[in-house]
Symmetry: none
Subunit: 188 residues, 4 copies
Amino acid sequence: MENIRRSDLVAATIAAIAETGSLDVTMRQIAKRAGVSSALAHHYFGTKEQIFLSSMRHVLALFGTEVQLLLGKSDTPRERVEAIIRASFAESNFRQEIISAWLNFYVQAQRSEAAARLLNIYRSRLRSNLVYGLRPLVKDHAEPAAEGIAAMIDGIYVRQSLSRSSPDPEYMVALVIDYFDRICEQHR
Amino acid sequence: MENIRRSDLVAATIAAIAETGSLDVTMRQIAKRAGVSSALAHHYFGTKEQIFLSSMRHVLALFGTEVQLLLGKSDTPRERVEAIIRASFAESNFRQEIISAWLNFYVQAQRSEAAARLLNIYRSRLRSNLVYGLRPLVKDHAEPAAEGIAAMIDGIYVRQSLSRSSPDPEYMVALVIDYFDRICEQHR
Amino acid sequence: MENIRRSDLVAATIAAIAETGSLDVTMRQIAKRAGVSSALAHHYFGTKEQIFLSSMRHVLALFGTEVQLLLGKSDTPRERVEAIIRASFAESNFRQEIISAWLNFYVQAQRSEAAARLLNIYRSRLRSNLVYGLRPLVKDHAEPAAEGIAAMIDGIYVRQSLSRSSPDPEYMVALVIDYFDRICEQHR
Amino acid sequence: MENIRRSDLVAATIAAIAETGSLDVTMRQIAKRAGVSSALAHHYFGTKEQIFLSSMRHVLALFGTEVQLLLGKSDTPRERVEAIIRASFAESNFRQEIISAWLNFYVQAQRSEAAARLLNIYRSRLRSNLVYGLRPLVKDHAEPAAEGIAAMIDGIYVRQSLSRSSPDPEYMVALVIDYFDRICEQHR
DNA sequence: AATGAATGAGGATTCATTCAT
DNA sequence: GATGAATGAATCCTCATTCAT
């Protein structure tokens, strides 16, 4: 029962944040959306910050799973980098709801030490995955290349959060891979 | 007097947002920082949303001024694109305080129609400036190229907002211009 | 089993009240201290007030037992009065934990009719015991003398509850018996 | 205005505590009794603990004033001790409402460091006043005598808080002064 | 122009209590 | 006998906003 409630509440939190477009969601809104009383939400999570952190973990895990899935199918360095790029725009992540949550988690990380830590773990992992794939391809340029690719992905997310049109993952993948291609060309 | 008060309050708002790391700043905090009563802040701005909007306008204007300044010195298409990139990381914009404000204004735009409009005006202008500069250089590719450059800039902002290290504008300019260079090469 | 649980919970209640220094202890705190669920505490006692009343009864019984014990060994009126005084500062009662509970039970009696009744029964009995012992010694003065002695005992409790130093029963017994002696002298 | 509100709220707090018979009074109850919103009570006092502390200070000040008043008219040591005793049962202090507040402030002092400090200041002053008056009369016995008198006074308060009958200050003064007399006799 | 006074509305959190199992 | 699940009600506190001065 506890697990069910917790995941219901996490889902409700993400949905509520996306709908409101901010972290100014009340525990009651979240609880109501999950079909429980706000007291129960407190019972399971203790504080609002905890429920936010759990929601972040969920979103981050979603992304991590996708990356692992695609990395598993990759053999060459080039495929590995592409895998990360494609994972970033996989359907499970690059959805309006999740995109909106991402933006707000960035904000949360500015206030909450715990949230910052969480986000930094994800960022480090993404970075090291990228560098690992890029090193054989571009040598010394791997670090800035990883930075550039990561920035472009983050930028696309932010911009999508503002856009009224629905996400176009293929276009975004093409955009980033095009950048990736150009970086590689120079080093061929 | 009115103008002084208004700009004091706008400055206080930006500072308060940066310090808090979120839009959860109270009118009292803002007013206190500006050295006035919160009643006066209301007198001048009416509502909290209005003071946020004015602060956005201020930040956007700052950026616009910088762009105009650098565009004025540019003659070739290439220079024009570079001007926009450099303006994005000019000292007046790419400061921790302003960067933090940017991120939060993105969030605000998700809730406030007026904020969204404001941000979209800036985005359109940026985009059209970029496309105008890119067209002679990359022809058909101008649109996605503009999108890519804009995304990278936005991404760098977002990432900087999380970073504890102080901004390194030259590195960022180099990163984006490197991308720009690679796009151009193909079309030479 | 039931008896064990009940006395565990009563002990936990007294300990919790002493530790908190007030009646603002939650059922959960009490239950946890007794090693059971709060639902079980309700099962056995029904309401929070009931558990408080049982705890009062326990403390009162403790005192009553002590009085009976010492009275049993007393033959003369003088010994009887001294027995009551000594019982008041016997180790089983005059312990920080119990002292703190006393003070709080006085407060509880101001709100709860049932608690007031309980405390009044104890007070009447103490009074009549004192008067019974004092009558042969001081005649008409027995009533106010009993009142004075009782007040001094209660006062010592209250003052001890605030004091950070540990209780000194012998000093307190001496203080009250000194008063008792002086009362008697006059009537010799 | 602020001073008016503050003293209204303090009065309301004392009345509310007396009526409830405990510190479980809500800010709303207090505020309503003072004829203001609970937000205003918070505006002026910040927290509930602060309003309690201010109320304690008020009651303590009341007592202090009375003591000073009566001490001012006293010339001999004997008169000084009597002054303190009489002040303890002066009409301004020994009223059901204030008596009830006293008891609850004792409880509050068990939880709140600040409340404990406040109460201890009063206790020290009372004690030193008593000792100062008693010294010439009973020499070495001054300390325990002061303790005994103070205990009796406190005890009378506690007992009165439980009693349903209205306070009888003259009887109480007589009781304590009788004790005082007997202490002195021995040393004559 | 400027502010202190004042509040209604709302939010996080806690808790005694109930109930199905 | 024992408990986890669940909640309604209540509490402290905050805040944007208004208004009289």
